[in-house]
Each structure stands twice: as structure tokens, then as C-alpha cells.
């Protein structure tokens, strides 16, 4: 399902389009075409709306806070009062990237493993059962993962079974569960990529006497590499933008530290947490939402554009 988001249509598939001669009815046809185009345009308006909203308030924000202070200072306390208030976004970006990294440490090997298994090893019957299970995992609302991280994974697994003395709100639990959250994305996109590798490549390798693991790791994997990179980038983009797991399980302040046993907060969780406080429009706290939102939007946009490029590449090669 995740992979299909990036389907690039194949213009050649429909062949030359048959056109009717112009008749009286064609005015109606033109109106319909116009209406349909209008609907398609709505998505462009959505993007415009997002960009305009973000930029407008962000500019106001930078009228109050110098852009250099925002990007490079390491004190972050936008909701504090008076002297304590500080707008250095570095800790927030650090916590965001750090939690994402922890998630990816879990999600990349496990997701790729699941993807490889489904594409190369599973028999059609096993595949038919396992694919929906993976999709089921992908369809569970993220608040459920947050609940699981806070009420089970942190106290029972990390504190009791493994015995690491983490705080109630900590980066370790949130990061690992974040990884489980993006695992299906990585698994399903990478599986699509590997399934698109033509059978002849595998047969050629087998014919040369390669063992199965060699065929998979040295022939199929490299052949599907652009799709696999796309899977990883998409997974990273999803992890960076995740809100609720972090909000529920990781706590409410970012931390410029490698220590995972303490609270962390990512940009999305900051936005949601600040908006929850029902800040009044026009206040500096309200504008901070947009400045952080712009930062997040730009980061995910770059990742998505990279992913789209890579997906295009592998589709062009094998379709």
C-alpha cells in the first residue's frame, strides 16, 4: 500500500488516444473536463495553503527572534516566561533526528528482513497470509503504539525484563516503538522493489552456481537498490514526522544529549503539545508552532523528493 503512493503512471500503456470529431456535445465534454481539472487543482491549493500558512507566520516569528538565534542557539524554552524564554531550536532538531535514528536502527534491519523474506523466500501461500499481517501493522493508529510504549513497553519490557532504569517518559522506548511503527513502510516498499527485479537475473545467478543467499544479497538486492533506498528514505520521513508516539511516550522536552533514558521531544510532538495549550493567535508561542512546522515541512519535503526520484528510477528500469 505504502509503495503505491509513488506509482508513476506509464503513459505508453494506453496507446494512442482515440478522439471523436467535434460535435454539439463537445461543449458539455469540455465543461466536464474543466470540472475534473478543478478537482485535481485542489491538491495544488492544499500545498499552497500549507506553504502560505507556514511562511506567513514564520516571517512574523523571525521578526521577533533573529533567524541565527533560532537555528544555532542551543537553549530551547519557547513557552517559558521572561528571561528564561529561549528559541534555539538545536536541541529540538537533535532530539528529532536522534529518535529517528534509534527508530531506524530497529526498522531498517527488521523491515528489510521482512521485505526480503516476503519477496524472495516466502511461498505464495505463506505470502498470502503474511502480507496482510504486515499491512495490518501498518494500519494500526499511531496512538495505539503510543499507548503500548507508555503502558507496556517502558514499564514491563525495558524497566522490568531488561532492567534498564529509564524514566517514565524516555527516548529509548519511544524510539524503539517508532521503529516498529515504520517497519511496515520499509518492508512493503522494499518488497515491491525486489519483486520488480526480473526473474531472469535470479535464474542467471543460479545458473552460475550461486547459493540462494548470494543471489538475494548480491544480485537481487543491488538490482533493487534504488527502490530499497526509497523505502529507507520514506521510513525516515515517516519517523521524523511522527507525533503521537513521541508525545505520549517520550515526554515534553527535547534534550541535547545521547542519553536515551531521559525525556526527549521531536518537532511534531512540540507542535501538538504547544497547540494543546490553546495558545492565543499572534502570541510568540503560537508563532513558534509555525517556525518549527516550517523546519519539519522542509526536512520531510527534501526526504520525499529524494524518495520519489529513487522510485522513478527503479520503475523505469524494470517496467
Amino acid at each position: 500500500m505504502e509503495g503505491s503512493h509513488f506509482a508513476v503512471s506509464n503513459p505508453g500503456a494506453q496507446g494512442p488516444r482515440l478522439q471523436r470529431a467535434r460535435t454539439r456535445r463537445s461543449t458539455g465534454e469540455q465543461i466536464i473536463k474543466g470540472l475534473l481539472a478543478l478537482a485535481a487543482l485542489l491538491s495544488v491549493l492544499t500545498t499552497t495553503g500549507i506553504v502560505v500558512t507556514l511562511i506567513k507566520e514564520t516571517i512574523t516569528f523571525f521578526g521577533d527572534v533573529p533567524i541565527g538565534d533560532f537555528l544555532f542557539k542551543t537553549d530551547w524554552a519557547p513557552l517559558a516566561g521572561g528571561e528564561q524564554q529561549a528559541f534555539g531550536v538545536v536541541p529540538l532538531i537533535w532530539s528529532t533526528l536522534y529518535l529517528t535514528a534509534v527508530g531506524l536502527v530497529v526498522a531498517i534491519p527488521a523491515g528489510l528482513g521482512v521485505g526480503i523474506y516476503l519477496a524472495e523466500y516466502a511461498s505464495p501461500r505463506v505470502r498470502k497470509i503474511l502480507k496482510p499481517v504486515v499491512e495490518l501493522l501498518a494500519g494500526i493508529p499511531t496512538i495505539v503504539f503510543g499507548y503500548f510504549a507508555l503502558t507496556f513497553f517502558t514499564p514491563n519490557v525495558i524497566q522490568d525484563w531488561i532492567g534498564i532504569g529509564v524514566d517514565v517518559f524516555n527516548g529509548l522506548s519511544a524510539g524503539i516503538i517508532l521503529g516498529i511503527l515504520v517497519l511496515p513502510t520499509i518492508a512493503s516498499v522494499s518488497e515491491d522493489a525486489m519483486s520488480a527485479v526480473p526473474q531472469s537475473l535470479r535464474e542467471g545467478a543460479f545458473g552460475l552456481g550461486a547459493a540462494k543467499w548470494q543471489v538475494v544479497l548480491r544480485v537481487v538486492f543491488p538490482a533493487a537498490l534504488s527502490g530499497i533506498v526509497a523505502a529507507l528514505v520514506l521510513g525516515a520521513s515517516r519517523a521524523i514526522g511522527e507525533t503521537v508516539v513521541i508525545l505520549v511516550a517520550a515526554g515534553n522536552n527535547p534534550n541535547l544529549t545521547f542519553d536515551l533514558t531521559v525525556a526527549h521531544q521531536n518537532m511534531a510532538a512540540f507542535i501538538a503539545n504547544t497547540a494543546r495549550a490553546d495558545v492565543s493567535a499572534g502570541s510568540i508561542a503560537y508563532e513558534t508552532i509555525f517556525a518549527v512546522g516550517t523546519t519539519l515541512f522542509v526536512m520531510t519535503l527534501v526526504l520525499n523528493l529524494i524518495a520519489i526520484r529513487f522510485v522513478r528510477k527503479y520503475r523505469q528500469v524494470y517496467e
Partner: protein, 306 residues
């Protein structure tokens, strides 16, 4: 399985056996893959079992029909959130079905891909599909709730059901468009050519031939999109959905929803709220499971073989 595929299978098996020196590495690699799969399934299982164990004791008809209460958690229910979620789903569907299908038809059947604006629309939709949901929340907060769009009093500066539904609709619209396009593309060109050759106009061809053929795929896409919409928490937090609401939502009034109720229950300190959250999760997952079953049924029952 076709004859050639069967032969390939046999050939592969023979060759694999020939490389017997590598067999233990093969086994190790296979074991590692199975371990990954095991981890994924284990987490899924633990998550479902844990939630079920925590919440099943609270689940009852009273739980569904009572209003949530922060003061008397033992009598707390989810009625306003449940109704809110159903409303969001319905309103979202009213919005995304026509707009999503129209966009998909335009892009697949009309758009000339040599024009830059059509390609721009395509890339734009792909990008929108992976913009973080919290960013849509910002759009909903600043543009719909407090902003310039004033539909049915949406711009009163108050979080309303319509504002929430519109935000969620915009969020899942790309999913509907992308899945619908695939369904439309799967209708073979020969169907269109046949219809056009019989004198139908392009729109008649689309309306009478292409869309009916693509309908199961489109319906699946719509259901998937709706199930994503009702599971979203972050945009609703931004838009200002209420928790512990003691009355049912109206179109232009405050509203609650299941994910928001779960989120706020989790945030309460007393242990009983956790169990309330778990019970609410069970209800939400049951709705999602039902929707997905319908999608799978539609796909299997009506999928056309061309």
C-alpha cells in the same frame, strides 16, 4: 502455476542443491530473516494482547453509550467520541469521494503528460501523501479554524466538526487519488476503444465503462483512506478536538473523536484511565477491522478479470 513457472521452480531447486557448500550460510541467512519477521509479528501480537487484556474488562454497552467523565472514571464512556468519529468518517467521505475520483479521472483520462502543469500536479500529490499529519493540523488550525476559509461558520475561531473533517479530508485525499488512479489504469484500453468506436463521447466512455470497471479498486482506496482518517490523532489535537465532552457533536460545534479520547485518557495519572484508553482502543480497532474486512471483501468479490 504455468508450465514455465513450474519448470523454473524445478530448475532452481536443482541448482540450489548443487551449491551445497553454501548450505549452512543459506540456513543462517534464512534464520535471520525469519527472526526479523518474528520480531514484527511479536510486537503486533504483544500490542494487541496487552491492549485487549487491559481494556476488555471495561468494555460493555454502557461504556459505549455513556459520556466520558474525568471526575467519575468508573462511569466514563465514549459516546461523544464514538459519534464524533462516525461523523468525521461520513463528512470525510462526502468530501473525498467526489474530489478524489474526479482528480484521478482527470489525471488518468484527460491530463496531457507533456504539459508541465499536469506533471506538477502529479509530483505535488505524491508529496502531499507523505507530508506529516501534524503539518495538516497546522493548516487546519491556521487556515480553517482561525483562518480565511469561512464555510458554515468554520472561521469563527472555534474548532468545529466540519473543520476537523475538512482537515482530515485534505490529509487523506492523496491516498484516494493515488489508489483510484491505479484502479482506473487497470481498466484495459480496449474497453475505452470499443466504447469510443461505438460513438460514445469520452465522458460517456468514462462514466459508463471505465468507472464501473474501476469501482471495486476505488472503493477499496476510499475505505483505506477513511480508516487512516479516523485513526489520526495529531491533526485533531491541532484543530482543537475536545476530550471528555459531555454532549454529542454538531456540525458547527465542538467535537470529540476516539483517538483524542484515547490520547487524553493516556495522559491522566490514575491507572483506571489507562484501562479506559485500552477499551477505547479496542472499539477503534474493531471499527478499523470492520472497514478493512469490507475492503477485502469488495476487492475479492468484485475484482474484474479482464
Amino acid at each position: 502455476m504455468s508450465a514455465t513457472a513450474a519448470e523454473a521452480q524445478i530448475a532452481r531447486r536443482t541448482v540450489e542443491r548443487a551449491a551445497s557448500g553454501e548450505r549452512w550460510r543459506d540456513a543462517a541467512f534464512r534464520f535471520a530473516l525469519l527472526l526479523c519477521l518474528f520480531v514484527a509479528v511479536l510486537f503486533l501480537g504483544a500490542l494487541l494482547v496487552d491492549t485487549f487484556v487491559d481494556g476488555v474488562g471495561i468494555l460493555s454497552w454502557d461504556f459505549i453509550t455513556s459520556f466520558p467523565s474525568r471526575l467519575r472514571p468508573e462511569e466514563s464512556g465514549i459516546q461523544s467520541a464514538f459519534i464524533g468519529t462516525l461523523w468525521l468518517m461520513a463528512l470525510c467521505a462526502i468530501f473525498i469521494v467526489p474530489v478524489g475520483i474526479a482528480s484521478a479521472v482527470y489525471l488518468e483520462e484527460y491530463a496531457d503528460r507533456d504539459r508541465w502543469w499536469n506533471r506538477a500536479i502529479e509530483v505535488n500529490i505524491q508529496n502531499l501523501a507523505s507530508v506529516p499529519s501534524v503539518v495538516y493540523g497546522i493548516l487546519g488550525l491556521a487556515f480553517i479554524v482561525r483562518g480565511p476559509i469561512d464555510v458554515f461558520g468554520l472561521g469563527k475561531g472555534q474548532p468545529t466538526l466540519l473543520a476537523g473533517a475538512l482537515t482530515l479530508g485534505l490529509l487523506v485525499l492523496p491516498v484516494v487519488i493515488i489508489v483510484s488512479r491505479e484502479a482506473i489504469r487497470a481498466v484495459p484500453p480496449s474497453i475505452r476503444e470499443g466504447s469510443l468506436a461505438l460513438g460514445a463521447t469520452q465522458w460517456q466512455t468514462i462514466w459508463k465503462q471505465v468507472l464501473p470497471g474501476a469501482l471495486p479498486g476505488i472503493a477499496t482506496g476510499v475505505i483505506l483512506a477513511l480508516s487512516r482518517a479516523i485513526g489520526e490523532t495529531a491533526p485533531l489535537i491541532l484543530v482543537g478536538a475536545a476530550a471528555f465532552q459531555r454532549f454529542n457533536p454538531e456540525l458547527d460545534g465542538p467535537f470529540s473523536a476516539l483517538p483524542i479520547q484515547i490520547f487524553n485518557n493516556v495522559g491522566e495519572p490514575e491507572a483506571i484511565f489507562r484501562d479506559l484508553a485500552a477499551a477505547t482502543i479496542i472499539v477503534l480497532l474493531a471499527i478499523l477491522l470492520l472497514m478493512n474486512s469490507v475492503a477485502i471483501y469488495l476487492r475479492n468479490r468484485y475484482e474484474s478479470k479482464w
